[in-house]
């Protein structure tokens, strides 16, 4: 049942000009958004947005009655009022140095819009494109259209639908056959508007890596004040390509962050994803990997460090569509205060995907009585010669280990911090990009009580 445009228009009037609130507000905002778009955009993109907003209108925001959202309450987003940012992305004076590190190319987006002034792209290998999606749609639509919106499906996902409806800009990375990029850093800065009102942005990223290519991409999300960030990233990993993707989410504590990372992997590719969730108030990270060729080796790692009333839902879906593929998922969480986490991990092995080797592990460490971690592993296997394992744990610090450390002279607080650090360390150590790993270590030293002792002891 599709909503007609007339209905959308009617709802638009109801919402008024105060910003998008509820489904109707977003629909009204969509009409305003349409009028701002530059002329000459590819028709396919315009059509995609239309389909997406219609789908969003039909789906509405998810509720707890829906299986995929049964533990994640997004009513604060559904009822919230959000402004589409109007400020000039180049008006930001400077990026906080702690968010920066040496990279071959850096793209900076302010409230979802590209800032040419803050970005810097040096000499890149022949044929490699690192830039804004909006520019790519104008300059080389033939490199965008075949992929954009083809993999991150919005039929059953309201936030992907919303992102697709409002897609305008984000990072576009194109790595041709045989090329290798250096480190590419994509930084998304968000904030409330000048009047302190919550903003909304819909970063849309597309990464396409050709046959035998290699790329390392770090997405960092940071911000201040209340806002709603709704990014979607599509990675199309070509045959035999090696792609290391890092997402560091350190949004403001008042922020909503509803993201989807969609991996479409071709034969013999080695895509890896490292999702680090440090910030945000209400966070959902969907990571979907479709292994659509033989011999793919896919790694999906994650770490979430939560305190206060933070909520993070990591929602994983791995599709083994072809034989001889491996997927290894390791997600670890450290929860303090009244924090809550959800891990939902589905491994779907299609008929004929023989010799699949799928591993999934979710481990949670609770540092307080009030923290809660839920883990929902799920296997759907339609092939008979496969190896699939999953395991999940929720536990506290090992008191014997705490005592052992104390018996050697380490203080109680430092001993607990050291063991907490150790718990997180196997994800930290898997981070191959040195500045990202170092930043995460520093974050842990700062977060953990007696972090100076931990720094010395690891």
């Amino acid at each position: 049942m599709a909503t007609t445009m007339t209905e959308i228009q009617e709802n638009a009037t109801a919402a008024g000009a105060a910003g998008a609130a509820g489904v109707a507000g977003h629909l009204a905002e969509f009409e305003r958004f349409q009028r701002e778009l530059p002329a000459g955009e590819p028709g396919a993109v315009q059509a995609l947005r239309r389909m997406a907003i219609e789908r969003f209108a039909a789906l509405g925001f998810p509720t707890l009655r829906q299986e995929e959202w049964r533990q994640t309450n997004v009513s604060a987003i559904a009822q919230g009022t959000f402004q589409r940012p109007q400020s000039d992305p180049d008006a930001v004076a400077a990026v906080s140095p702690e968010l920066l590190f040496d990279a071959a190319a850096r793209l900076v987006f302010v409230d979802g819009r590209f800032s040419a002034r803050l970005s810097s792209v040096g000499q890149l290998p022949e044929g490699v494109i690192v830039g804004s999606l909006a520019q790519a749609l104008q300059r080389s639509p033939e490199k965008v259209e075949p992929w954009l919106g083809q993999f991150a499906r919005f039929e059953n996902h309201p936030f992907v639908a919303l992102n697709t409806a409002f897609l305008r800009d984000g990072a576009f990375i194109w790595v041709p056959r045989g090329a290798a990029t250096g480190l590419i850093h994509v930084l998304y800065l968000s904030s409330s508007d000048n009047d302190g009102r919550a903003t909304v942005s819909f970063p849309r990223n597309l990464f396409v890596t050709g046959e035998n290519s290699q790329a390392t991409i770090v997405e960092t999300y940071a911000g201040t004040g209340p806002y709603f960030n709704c990014p979607v990233t599509e990675l199309v990993a070509g045959p035999n390509s090696v792609v290391d993707h890092y997402k560091v989410q350190r949004e403001s504590r008042e922020a909503f962050h509803m993201s989807t990372f969609q991996v479409q992997a071709d034969r013999h590719s080695v895509p890896s994803s490292h999702s680090i969730s440090l910030g945000g108030g209400l966070v959902r990270n969907d990571v979907n990997a479709v292994l659509d060729g033989e011999g793919i080796d896919c790694i999906l790692n994650g770490l979430y460090l939560l305190e206060g009333s933070q909520f993070v839902d990591n929602h994983m879906r791995v599709e083994h569509a072809k034989p001889h593929c491996a997927s290894h998922e390791l997600y670890k969480g450290v929860l303090d205060g009244k924090a809550r986490s959800i891990f939902s991990g589905l491994i779907h092995v299609h008929k004929g995907a023989q010799k699949t080797d799928a591993k999934q592990s979710n481990r949670n460490l609770l540092l307080s009585r009030d923290a809660v971690a839920n883990s929902n592993p799920q296997l759907e296997i339609y092939a008979d010669d496969v190896r699939c394992t999953h395991g999940s744990t929720v536990g506290q610090l090992d008191e014997d280990a705490v005592f052992y450390l104390r018996s050697r002279g380490i203080g109680a607080e430092a001993a607990r911090s050291l063991l907490t650090y150790a718990f997180a360390s196997d994800i930290v150590e898997r981070i191959k990009v040195e500045p990202v790993r170092r930043d995460l270590e520093e974050f842990l030293f700062a977060r953990l009580p007696k972090g100076d002792v931990v720094r010395q002891a690891v």
Binding site: Y404, R406, S407, R408, A412, A422, Q456, A457, V458
Partner: protein, 257 residues
């Protein structure tokens, strides 16, 4: 150095130690022997400060200070060390770096400057030789994947680095083959000094062939029932604990029964 007076301790409401009196002077090596369940390991753990054990009566003085009033880490910094019967595996915590942090905590407490990395490494290499520990074990996480013998050697290695004054060895000899036992014992003997005392908790007399004690005590049912010199261990080895237990039961019978 260590004075234990009428020490009573319980775990989960069961009284395990029922009045221990023991004085260990500077430089002395005391061995506590006894059958399983006699309370040997409980005594070691109470001295180290494990919270699962509740001290219900008595006193322990370490250099005149109330040991039982100190947190486990303070005891360690003051110079009390327990080599664990079952050393804990701690994934993700490097054996060396952790030890450096521990040593610096101890040194700070004693008013000594922190050791720099080079100094520390030189010292560590020297101590490793003492227990014939392979250098690869230094860089591994604490005890993770170590064999039984390697774990016990690692305990003695920690002890050598931290240079405690009161060393408590909780069944360090159990599960060791003769070669490993010799290595561990050589390490302990090298650490013996006029200012360092040892409390060896063991089930077997064998250890005392290698580490010769000044005093031997027999623990039965939470009490020290006999004390003597090193020859007491040999007597026990010969007669076994059962004879002693029988004698003790007889002795404990009320007069005229």
């Amino acid at each position: 150095m260590l004075e234990i007076k009428n020490l009573h301790a319980s775990v989960e409401g069961n009284e395990i130690l029922r009045g221990i009196d023991l004085t260990i002077n500077n430089g002395e090596v005391h061995a506590i022997m006894g059958p399983n369940g006699s309370g040997k390991s409980t005594l070691a753990r109470v001295l180290a400060g494990q919270e699962a054990y509740e001290v219900t009566a008595g006193q322990v003085l370490f250099d005149g200070q109330d040991l039982l009033d100190m947190d486990p880490e303070v005891r360690a910094r003051e110079g009390v060390f327990m080599a664990f019967q079952y050393p804990v595996e701690i994934p993700g915590v490097s054996n060396t770096y952790f030890l450096k942090a521990a040593l610096n905590a101890v040194r700070k407490h004693r008013g000594l400057p922190e050791m720099d990395a080079l100094e520390f490494l030189a010292m560590v290499r020297q101590k490793m030789k003492m227990v014939q520990m392979e250098e690869t074990l230094l860089n591994r996480p604490v005890n993770e994947g170590f064999s039984g013998g390697e774990k016990k050697r690692n305990e003695i290695f920690h002890m050598a680095v931290l240079e405690p004054r009161m060393c408590i060895l909780d069944e360090t000899d159990s599960g060791l083959d003769i070669d490993a036992l010799r290595i561990v014992s050589d390490g302990v003997n090298a650490l013996r000094s006029a200012d360092r005392s040892f409390l060896l908790i063991t089930h077997y007399q064998r250890l005392l062939n290698y580490i010769v004690p000044d005093h031997v005590h027999v623990l039965l049912d939470g009490r020290i029932v006999r004390s003597g010199g090193k020859e007491l261990a040999l007597e026990l080895e010969e007669k076994g604990y059962s004879l002693l237990e029988a004698a003790e039961r007889e002795r404990a019978l009320p007069v005229g029964a």
